[in-house]
């Protein structure tokens, strides 16, 4: 049984529905990320689990117990806030010791545990500092130590790295992951940063408009998105309307485009056959060939439009009979505006959504 279950949770602020019948199961020891654009409900979900937001409907079950109505301070969950929320009137040591003092733990035991965790986050020598004297990264470590030292049953992280610079973010996310696995702690991590989320998570829940669109491993989310929203979110910029013509054995089929052209698609993300679907493909998976080149299926004629240099490659806007597509081409050769080309869509790179 899952350690944590959200069952048909709905949250609304007045008439504004933020979460709609949301379901989520998290296993013990897992790090699950909630990923999505702002306003998708990811922070609300986290705050609901933390006890800061009340559900209008539904139940939150944790470790077999109904936690829906349990107040924040009785949940024993560690919470790491986006702006750290360190106590400015207390030293680093007292900030971290805060939750332990609350639990009536003997003084020398508190000292031992605080120093231990400060060592884990690399701040042993900063115990007597005031939070004001710390850098952003150090504050983040204190916040993490403060949440971990109480040995929480669940660790909740609300965009913990979004106030740090890019390099530090990469370093800190590795540390968070390392500590999370070392302590075998179950964690829920909210972020809008895809790379951060993929690098740190066991599973990712991509959210949109108050529902989870897909809950899967980072690899599956990235390679095999199941919905148009998820596909778009992870960088499938092109969506081509397809109509099923013939099924193939082994999970694939032939599809007809609007202009009559045929596409063969083999790489299925576990979707049932449907007559009308969309084929999603990333700009970098489309090949640009000289006009008339390539095979009969899985190609489209196009005219090069605006191009931009992205470092590793050029990105072109290509006009085709089925609409405007974004295509990346080699940085060694630049196609001119107005040039006629043939685009090739590898059958295993098209994902149906």
């Amino acid at each position: 049984m899952a350690l944590l279950s959200l069952k048909n949770i709905s949250v609304a602020y007045g008439k504004n529905v933020v979460l709609k019948n949301l379901n989520l199961d998290v296993e013990k020891g897992e790090l699950v990320s909630l990923l999505g654009p702002s306003g998708c409900g990811k922070t609300t979900t986290l705050r609901l689990i933390g006890g800061f937001v009340e559900a209008k409907n539904g139940r939150f079950v944790f470790n077999g117990k109904d936690y829906t109505k349990i107040p924040v301070h009785k949940r024993n969950f560690g919470f790491v806030f986006q702006n750290y929320a360190l106590f400015p009137h207390l030293t680093v040591f007292d900030n971290v010791a805060f939750g332990l003092k609350q639990r009536n733990i003997p003084k020398n035991e508190i000292k031992k545990r605080v120093m231990e965790i400060l060592e884990t986050v690399g701040l042993k020598d900063y115990a007597d500092r005031s939070p004001r004297e710390l850098s952003g990264g150090q504050k983040q470590r204190v916040a993490l130590a403060r949440a971990l030292v109480i040995q929480p049953d669940l660790l909740l992280l609300d965009e913990p790295l979004s106030n740090l610079d890019a390099k530090l973010r990469v370093k800190m996310r590795l540390e968070i992951r390392k500590i999370q696995q070392e302590y075998n702690i179950t964690a829920i991590y909210v972020t809008h940063d895809q790379e951060e989320c993929f690098s740190i998570s066991d599973r990712v829940a991509v959210m949109n408009n108050g529902v989870i669109e897909q809950l899967d491993t980072p690899q599956k989310i990235y390679n095999l998105p199941r919905t148009e929203f998820v596909a778009n979110f992870v960088g499938f910029e092109n969506f081509i309307e397809l109509e099923l013509e013939a099924k193939e054995r082994g999970g694939g089929g032939f599809y007809k485009l609007k202009n009559g052209q045929r596409f063969k698609v083999t790489h299925f993300n576990g979707r049932e056959y449907e007559r009308y679907v969309k084929g999603a493909i990333r700009p970098e998976e489309i090949d640009i060939l000289n006009e008339g080149g390539g095979k009969e299926t899985n190609t489209l004629k196009g005219i090069i439009g605006i191009s931009t240099f992205l470092g590793k490659h050029y990105q072109y806007v290509v006009e085709t009979e089925v609409g405007r597509l974004l295509v990346n081409g080699s940085a060694h050769k630049r196609y001119e505006k107005g040039e006629r080309v043939t685009l090739y869509f590898p059958e295993d790179k098209i994902v149906l959504v």
């Binding site: 006890g51 301070h73 969950f77 929320a85 009137h89 805060f98 609350q102 949440a147």
Partner: protein
């Protein structure tokens, strides 16, 4: 001006000043307790509490202290509540000061980042524990300057209770004036005493602010 007259009367003024201090200090204590309770009521999520506290500050801040004092001292006996001048004065000033202190404490608490409360709650504190150990210690620092103002205002407003038969600094001055017609000396001396007392307050608050800003 007859300074020897003032010096002669110093012990009488000093007695009046002691009464002024007593009145002010008691009103500050009771007013602060009242203010804290009303402020917590105002920021709570319970509608009846919010309405009750808002009604209190609306009435008290919207009417003159003199009217409130007259109401308590001359009005209440008509419904059988007779108060001596001293309790009447302390009650009137506490209720009045409390209304202003309510707003100071409310603003101070609301100026603290919401995350502080949430962090304290998530570490195992109940709402009231978090208020006491995390929010109020931080809010206190921000509340000090307006509190200093309020205490000084309360001290000066205590002169109004001279009208309900309290013999404090102001009443001492009016009595001496009535007996001797040395108006300049009487009110000059009272003014100097008030200035002396408010200066003490100012110095105390400056020290407190300085001390808290270092920590």
């Amino acid at each position: 001006m007859d300074f020897t007259f003032i010096i002669d009367k110093l012990p009488v003024f000093a007695l009046g000043a002691v009464m002024t201090i007593e009145l002010t200090v008691l009103s500050i204590i009771f007013g602060s307790i009242l203010g804290l309770i009303a402020a917590l009521a105002k920021i709570s999520k319970k509608k009846p509490l919010v309405y009750a506290a808002s009604f209190y500050t609306w009435i008290i801040r919207g009417t003159p202290l003199l009217v409130q004092l007259y109401f308590i001292y001359y009005g209440l006996p008509k419904v059988g509540i007779e108060l001596d001048p001293f309790p009447a004065a302390v009650i009137g000033m506490s209720i009045c000061g409390g209304a202003y202190i309510t707003e100071i404490i409310r603003a101070g608490i609301e100026s603290i980042d919401k995350g502080q409360m949430e962090a304290a709650r998530s570490l195992g504190m109940s709402y009231l524990q978090a208020m006491r150990r995390v929010i109020i210690p931080q809010a206190l620092r921000r509340m000090l300057p307006p509190m200093g103002n309020e205490f000084i205002a309360l001290l000066k407003d205590s002169s109004l209770v001279s009208t309900i038969a309290m013999v404090e600094l102001m009443r001492t001055a009016t009595q001496i004036n009535a007996a001797t017609f040395k108006s300049i000396e009487a009110f000059f001396a009272a003014g100097v005493f008030y200035l002396f007392l408010t200066t003490i307050f100012t110095v105390i608050f400056n020290r407190l602010e300085h001390k808290l800003s270092i920590n």
